[in-house]
Symmetry: C2
Subunit: 220 residues, 2 copies
DNA sequence: GTATTTATTTCGTGC
DNA sequence: GCACGAAGTAAATAC
């Protein structure tokens, strides 16, 4: 990884064309070949960048980063270099994620009684012609319920579930099928639409649910 | 801007929980308060980050980045610092973009003959109850044409234009209205759907069109 | 202010 | 390899 602090101008041509006037910035050159130009704001987002595969050619003050696959090009005109250092980082073991929708789905699949006593899982990722339903269940009375799970419940999730319900209700083996919209947080608009369509909203406490599964916390 | 190369472990808790095992990484602390943890790959994307507003508290080897607005938290456990430098960058004049959909729309509005001889513009951003149509035109024969413009023509753009056409064709003053789907690049799926719905596809050469407007190129 | 759309989206996953 | 959906999406824009 190479860190360069330099006064520079940058031009990009590719999916769009863009220009950066002369100013002092960080030029970050990674071992993967990527080059990104950072200002002192915009959080982690660079002003300009080139994704690998690409090659950096330094011709004096003119640095050219050319994409190997497309005709995208970044031209950096160096005015003055204020810092230039390189560092061996090695391969990163990578990020271990937790808490995404998939995990929430697995937890709920293993704990369908979260929705009500006597519930049981028919199957996870129940296939339909327009895509899999997250969970297909039977409630205590034996009625079929399609469950759509989101981390954040928004209006498009309700639309998605509505499409599934319409399809599932055409199947006389399953019909009538009702819907449950489960999320860690449900937006008011989504809740209103769901209620209007007789879909039950359930907000899920992910931490509590995980506690059922594995009470050992990592750090928090 | 502060650049720290350090062997470290990182834990994040917020919208998800995540852990980074001990490894050497770049810790980038920007003047806007943001902190991002970079490995030597993943292009410009950090492994972990915290967006402003947030505060970094260093307590020996334990660095804590706490979001001011939410309860998101990043805990960095420093094992060894290999590099630590700070740099004054000043305010960046920022990126001047060109080539986005808005500009493409303006260019085409000024050059509707791109679609055919004798075409003229009725109006740009023609209002309908479900949103504005990019361009409403009349072709050489006087027939009404609705034009939907995208940088990249994908299936949802065709759906959008279809909804506009359905609405516009209810207006006896305009009907019959046909559709043109214009983009720099049209995906095969979108083209197939458009053809099926008798919508004409037009791929636009943005550079050539811009050349009509302003023949002076910046760099390329 | 909130809701919607865009993004040089990027990134993963299933086919 | 390509289409589809999710993202700690974020950011800009419309309302």
């Amino acid at each position: 990884m190479r860190l360069v602090i330099a006064r520079c101008q940058v031009d990009y041509a590719g999916r769009l064309t863009a220009h950066l006037p002369l100013a002092t910035r960080l030029i970050l050159v990674k071992a993967d070949g990527s080059v990104s130009i950072h200002a002192d704001d915009r959080a982690y987002k660079p002003l300009n960048w080139m994704s690998p595969p690409c090659t950096l050619v330094e011709d004096g003050d003119a640095w050219t980063v050319q994409s190997t696959k497309t005709d995208d090009r970044l031209v950096i005109e160096i005015d003055e270099i204020l810092h230039d250092s390189s560092h061996e980082l090695g391969v990163d073991p990578g990020l271990e994620k937790d808490g995404v929708e998939a995990h929430l789905q697995r937890l709920l699949a293993e704990n369908v009684t979260t929705f009500g006593d006597g519930w049981r899982l028919v199957r996870r990722e129940y296939p339909t012609p327009i895509g899999p339903v997250d969970l297909l269940c039977r409630d205590a009375s034996g009625a079929t319920v399609a469950v759509e799970i989101k981390r954040r419940g928004e209006i498009d999730g309700v639309e998605q579930l509505t499409r599934y319900l319409e399809l599932l209700n055409r199947d006389p083996q399953l019909s009538p099928v009702r819907g449950v919209f489960a999320a860690q947080e449900i937006k008011p608009q989504a809740r209103t639409l769901a209620n209007d369509r007789d879909i039950t909203c359930v907000t899920v406490d992910y931490n509590a649910l995980r506690g059922v599964d594995d009470p050992s916390d990592r750090l928090f």
